[in-house]
Amino acid sequence: MAGADSPSAALRRRDLCARGIRLAGKMRSDVVDLLDTYVERQGLDASASVAAVEGVPPAAVERWDEQTGTQRLLENLAAYRAFRALLAQMLEEQREQLGEADAALGRALAAVLLQVSAFAYHLEELLRLESRGPPSEEGDGPPPQPQGLFEQKLRGLGVLRELAQWAVRSARDLRQLAKHGPGAGSAPSPAESP
């Protein structure tokens, strides 16, 4: 882990974290706007409670403060890879159901998908600074297909809500990583040696 602790690695990590935090902020703002458009187009109640949907990674986490920076990065990466597949599926479903009739919703979905892909790449870069590198994506099958069209609508609502929450969590994860480095949790720990 000596390379990961070198001054240049620390500088690069801080730079990547700063950019990642900005990206997470923009992503959250765009997802919130997309949510408004989505509920309106799908005729849903914005406050409808949606049970946990299979394949959508929950942002809620217990004992977050005990996680190391690397563990947080890995969980973030797994989540955004899952969101990338889920949003791609939503985009395909939207095109099948409505074609070009709702170009605005399609464009907004595509824009968020792009940001999620960019953020996942960002996380992979951060993990490359550690000796282990990012895990491969083998074995990640496509997300399960909802049974009916109403289930599709509800799942989309769940995906966007959870993604908005993840953007908040990711910004905090990156702030901690920038402050404490990959090996430490949030709890105060001895400073890492260069």
């Binding site: 187009r41 799908q42 005729g43 849903l44 109640d45 409808a48 409670s49 949606v50 049970a51 946990a52 949907v53 299979e54 159901q97 409505l98 074609g99 070009e100 009739a101 709702d102 909802p146 049974q147 009916g148 069209l149 109403f150 289930e151 609508k153 509800l154 799942r155």
Partner: protein
């Protein structure tokens, strides 16, 4: 809505219905869930449906009767949802209520410089179908050839398609539009056209408007023919339209012919005018037909000079008198043409030419220093 076992199932699932239909839907709770029919209620698009429309068909099955359905509120379908007493969502079904498409109408097409074809049409239904309706434009050469499908939609409005290449000349095309939605398909009448008959061009380029010396009621307009015309068209008609700056009323000069310059006369002195030019590729490859007028060129502005005669410059009263006089003369000449034979050459243009001559001769006399 859950993961492995859905708490309940609605039947029918995602049905498509005609406006005015009635529907009976059932919600059956899964045996794994301890809910009875009396624990359930229905909503449609978030609005709770009256209990009077429910019926318990079994211990864990509740039905709802919907009569005379209106068109779907959103194209993604109306949300019919079965809830538990505490408001939780147990299952949902999307209702697609609408009308089948009517055949698209008013197909019009144009070709830009004989290189492509753009067509637009209007949906047949005056209102809407309430369902997502897909439009496909198809075309084929008249007596042979397979059906082709246009790929680039919405290029000239929501009901339009653009065919960018591989179009044949000198053979008519058959063109039609198919509309389809969940309730059916409708096909427009077939339109037949020859690409050469629907050609348009870019607007004329390099439009310049300038004063004609000191002549205060004239402007000279010059332009270049659109570049695409140079290769294959030698007949082109032009039209000019112009207006004063603070008016929305355009005057059209129709008889410009195929020249690339024109002089506007009878204008107001000291006034800003906007001028536009457009082109019609008339008589392409010997065709006798007119093409389609291009868009107007971007407006070009210029102002007529203001008279310097008299102390203090412009005499508004004199200007008004000139306008009134000119109007009266125009009416007089119109009357002469109708009632006096052998005077067909008299017209307002002759008067304008006389005024040009008069101003030139005044200028010459002033330059020489002689008083009239």
């Amino acid at each position: 809505v859950s993961p492995a076992a859905a708490p309940a199932v609605i039947s029918p699932q995602d049905p498509t219905l005609l406006i005015g239909s009635s529907l009976v839907a059932t919600c059956t709770v899964s045996p794994d869930f301890p809910l009875k029919a009396e624990d359930l209620y229905w909503t449609l698009n978030g609005r709770r449906l009256p209990a009077a429309s429910y019926a318990a068909l079994g211990p864990s099955t509740l039905s709802v009767a919907l009569a005379r359905l209106n068109g779907s509120r959103q194209q993604s379908g109306d949300n019919l949802v079965c809830h538990s007493r505490d408001g939780g969502i147990l299952a949902g079904s999307c209702l697609y209520v609408g009308l089948p498409p009517e055949k698209p109408v008013n197909i019009t097409c144009w070709s830009k410089n004989m290189k492509d074809l753009t067509c637009k049409w209007a949906p047949g239904t005056e209102g809407e179908t309430f369902l997502h309706t897909n439009y496909t434009l198809k075309y084929k050469l008249r007596w042979y050839g397979r059906d082709n499908t246009c790929q680039e939609y919405h290029t000239a409005g929501p009901y339009s398609c653009h065919i960018p290449k591989d179009l044949a000349l000198f053979t008519p095309y058959e063109i039609w539009v198919e509309a389809s939605n969940r309730l059916g398909v409708a096909v427009s009448d077939v339109v037949m056209l020859d690409i050469l008959d629907v050609v348009t061009t870019d607007p004329p380029s390099d439009v310049h408007v300038s004063r004609v010396g000191d002549l205060e009621d004239q402007l000279s307009v010059r332009w270049s023919s659109p570049p695409a015309l140079k290769d294959f068209l030698f007949q082109a008609k032009y039209q000019i339209q112009y207006r004063v700056e603070d008016s929305s009323e355009w005057k059209v000069v129709d008889d410009v012919g195929n020249q690339t310059s024109c002089r506007l006369a009878g204008l107001r002195p000291g006034t800003v005018y906007f001028v536009q030019v457009r082109c019609n590729p008339f008589g392409i490859y010997g065709s006798k037909k007119a093409g389609i007028w291009s868009d107007w060129s971007n407006p070009t502005a210029a102002s007529t000079p203001r008279s310097e005669r008299g102390a203090g410059g412009c005499d508004p009263k004199g200007g008004e008198q000139n306008t009134t006089l000119r109007r009266e003369l125009k009416q007089f000449f119109g009357w002469v043409k109708k009632h006096a034979y052998g005077c067909s050459n008299l017209g307002i243009k002759l008067y304008d030419q006389w005024r040009v001559w008069l101003q030139k001769s005044h200028k010459t006399r002033n330059q020489v220093g002689k008083e009239p």
